[in-house]
């Protein structure tokens, strides 16, 4: 891997504990531009906790985050956004009572010269990006609680994509979606990858992992089992890592 230059993101030796339980225990993973790294493991393995350190939702107890080779200080979600890190949370993190545009721009509203929020401009931008991501989307005026699971998902994705993310974290982006919408997300991931984004993808569906990811890092009980190149292993190998916590022999990472 040393031939690929500086990684976009390095999470080095990250640890975080909640009340004595080590949720993440000395985990090191990295991510290169134009690459999709899958984070796998059982529920409670520590995947979501690990990436929440990167997105600023949690503060790690020990370890180091490097962005483009330089040490990054990420103490809250605002810091993460400064490094062009965008996150699509499993819960989507949408304010149900607000419309799509308000959610898309939440925390980063477009304002008029007078300093007032420019709803018309934000709606126009939202219509533009939704036209690209989900052309069937029509409910621009309604609170997002009136939307279907797939529509809500597309709002959350639009929010992450709109602001020129360089690093994208997706926590089970297809969990609530039907087959057609899942396919759309898969295509989007390929497109973003081609644009040079680095993507951390938390995913349970092993077929999606094999299809979408370049590498897969497997966690178990807060520790890293190992990282493998997806095209050098079979899905049985990865399942073995997830279930038994055993790294397949003779596989470089």
């Amino acid at each position: 891997m040393s031939t690929r230059g500086t990684p976009l993101v390095e999470l080095r030796d990250i640890s975080i504990a909640f009340g004595g339980i080590k949720a993440v225990d000395h985990v090191t993973v990295d991510l290169y531009p134009g690459e999709v790294v899958g984070l796998l493991g059982h529920n409670g393995a520590g995947k979501s906790t690990l990436i929440k350190c990167l997105s600023g939702a949690y503060q790690m107890d020990a370890g180091e985050i490097r962005i483009n080779g330089e040490k990054a200080e990420i103490h809250n979600p605002r810091d993460a956004r400064k490094y062009n890190i965008e996150t699509i949370y499993q819960t989507l993190a949408l304010a149900d009572n607000l419309d799509a545009a308000s959610n898309l721009f939440l925390g980063r509203e477009l304002v008029t010269p007078m300093g007032f929020v420019d709803d018309a401009q934000m709606e126009a931008e939202t219509r533009k990006i939704m036209g690209r991501l989900n052309p069937n989307f029509r409910k621009f005026k309604e609170p997002v609680k009136a939307l279907s699971g797939g529509q809500r998902q597309s709002v959350a994705i639009a929010r992450a994509v709109y602001f020129n993310a360089k690093i994208l974290i997706m926590d089970e982006p297809t969990a609530a979606l039907g087959p057609h919408e899942t396919q759309m997300v898969a295509e989007l991931i390929q497109e973003l990858k081609a644009q040079g984004l680095g993507i951390f993808l938390i995913e349970h569906d092993i077929h999606n992992v094999m299809k979408l990811c370049d590498r897969a890092s497997v966690m178990k009980n807060g520790q890293l089992v190992g990282t493998v190149n997806v095209n050098e292993v079979t899905d049985e190998d990865i399942l073995g890592m997830i279930i038994l916590g055993k790294k397949p022999e003779g596989v470089a990472s």
């Binding site: 979600p77 304010a95 149900d96 009572n97 607000l98 939440l106 925390g107 018309a120 126009a124």
Partner: protein, 431 residues
């Protein structure tokens, strides 16, 4: 709640749909009209006189001002039980300032032009600081708002009592008295001028919103719907102005006013009160709070934090500081209400604003603010306050016994929330 099955039901729905009016607002207006008509019939037309409407409005202002702030508090899933006590505290500070400290201790003398402004600044500052302290305890120390403000309910009124030695403070500064209502009105000409300004502003705002949507090629309402809305706004504003201008000052008061200026009142001279300054303050507060809610980042964050606190936090919003700001604003409005309430009553007494916390919360809730958070409007809260006050005044006029007055107000509160829940069920909203 207005969609009662009428023969012309179908046509009506499409008419209201085109206007894109909030049906909940229509329901409240309907309830208000019903209350007015019923009381007017029972009192043989005494309820809807210019004089009674004038009195009703100046009695509503204090609670309505605080209710606008309570909307933000409840929208963010908090509650403030201390507003009545904070109002009493602010009133005590202002009473002490204008009756003792400024004229006597500092020697400004009675009637000095600086007494009123310094007093008001003192009152507003007191309210804001108490509110900020509440917000800090709730946001940063994570004590539930219910507890912090329940404590405040006991603390602040008695703090005020201690400050004022439990005395009734008065008489108040003559300039300060202008904010109470009857002592401070704008007169006919100025009221008409302001009414026209507000009417033009309302038309302009509707037109601007439409122009912005056209510019971005969004769908717009049909033009007749926009014109209808403009017409309703203009009619409401100018109508209210006309009512205020129709309330004439009594002869005795006019004679006294002329006598004070050393003149003799000409025969047949009449003058009207016009719009009370306190009502103007309420209008300014309501418009500012609406702009704050809808057109500023702060307002957007308040509603986002109410809808989903985690999402707001993950979007990089500092929700703790937000809580401080919301409660500081609530405190500021308590201070402002204290100015109006004290000036209206013409003195500070320790029981000022007693039970106001319940009236304010009830006004916000009747106005459609959901205790679950995330939903609420400023105009709803103001309308809620008006409905509560009309009920109370109307019952007093009719001569309903005191215990029944409170029983009815309590029942109306519960009934209003029940209606709201039924309405939301029908429209498919989560309750």
């Amino acid at each position: 709640m207005t969609d009662a099955a009428t023969p012309s039901g179908v046509k009506k729905t499409s008419f209201f749909k085109a206007l894109e009016l909030d049906t909940r607002l229509l329901g409240m207006i309907g309830a208000f009209v019903l209350i007015c008509v019923v009381f007017n019939v029972i009192t043989d037309g005494r309820f809807l006189t210019a004089r009674n409407i004038f009195n009703l409005s100046i009695q509503t202002v204090s609670v309505a001002i605080m209710a606008t702030g309570m909307v933000f508090v409840i929208v963010t899933r908090h509650i403030d039980l201390s507003v009545g006590a904070v109002l009493a505290m602010c009133s005590a500070v202002m009473g002490v300032l204008q009756v003792w400290l400024l004229p006597q201790t500092l020697g400004l003398g009675i009637g000095h032009p600086l007494v009123a402004p310094l007093t008001i600044i003192g009152g507003l500052l007191t309210g804001t600081l108490i509110g900020a302290l509440n917000g800090w305890l709730i946001g940063y120390q994570r004590i539930p708002a219910f507890i912090v403000t329940l404590g405040g309910l006991l603390i602040w009124r008695n703090f005020g009592w201690y400050l004022s030695d439990g005395q009734t403070l008065g008489p108040l500064d003559q300039h300060f008295m202008l904010f109470g209502g009857i002592e401070g009105t704008l007169g006919t000409m100025l009221s008409w001028a302001l009414g026209v300004v507000f009417a033009v502003a309302a038309v302009w705002a509707i037109w601007r919103a439409r122009a912005a949507r056209i510019q971005h090629e969004f769908p717009v309402k049909p033009i007749w719907a926009e014109v209808t809305m403009m017409g309703i706004a203009v009619a409401a504003i100018l109508g209210l102005t006309a009512i205020y201008n129709a309330y004439e000052m009594p002869i005795g008061r006019l004679k006294r006013m002329f006598a004070e200026r050393g003149e003799v009142m000409p025969e047949g001279f009449t003058a009207s009160y016009g719009m009370p300054i306190s009502v103007l303050i309420l209008v300014i507060v309501a418009v500012s709070m609406t702009v704050l809610a809808r057109r500023t980042r702060l307002g957007r964050y308040i509603f986002a934090a109410g809808g989903n606190p985690d999402a707001a936090e993950l979007s990089g919003i500092n929700t703790r500081l937000l809580t401080v700001k919301i409660f500081a604003l609530m405190g500021f409005l308590c201070g402002l209400s204290a100015v109006v309430a004290q000036a209206r009553l013409a003195n500070h007494a320790n029981d000022i604003g007693t039970l106001d916390e319940l009236r304010v919360i009830a006004a916000a809730v009747i106005g459609g603010t959901a205790l679950a958070g995330g939903i609420g409007t400023i105009y709803g809260a103001v309308l809620g306050a008006i409905i509560m006050q009309s009920l109370q005044s109307g019952m007093a006029m009719v001569g309903v016994d005191a215990p029944f007055q409170n029983i009815i107000v309590g029942a109306v509160l519960v009934f209003a929330v029940w209606i709201d829940i039924q309405y939301r069920k029908r429209t498919g909203e989560k309750v």
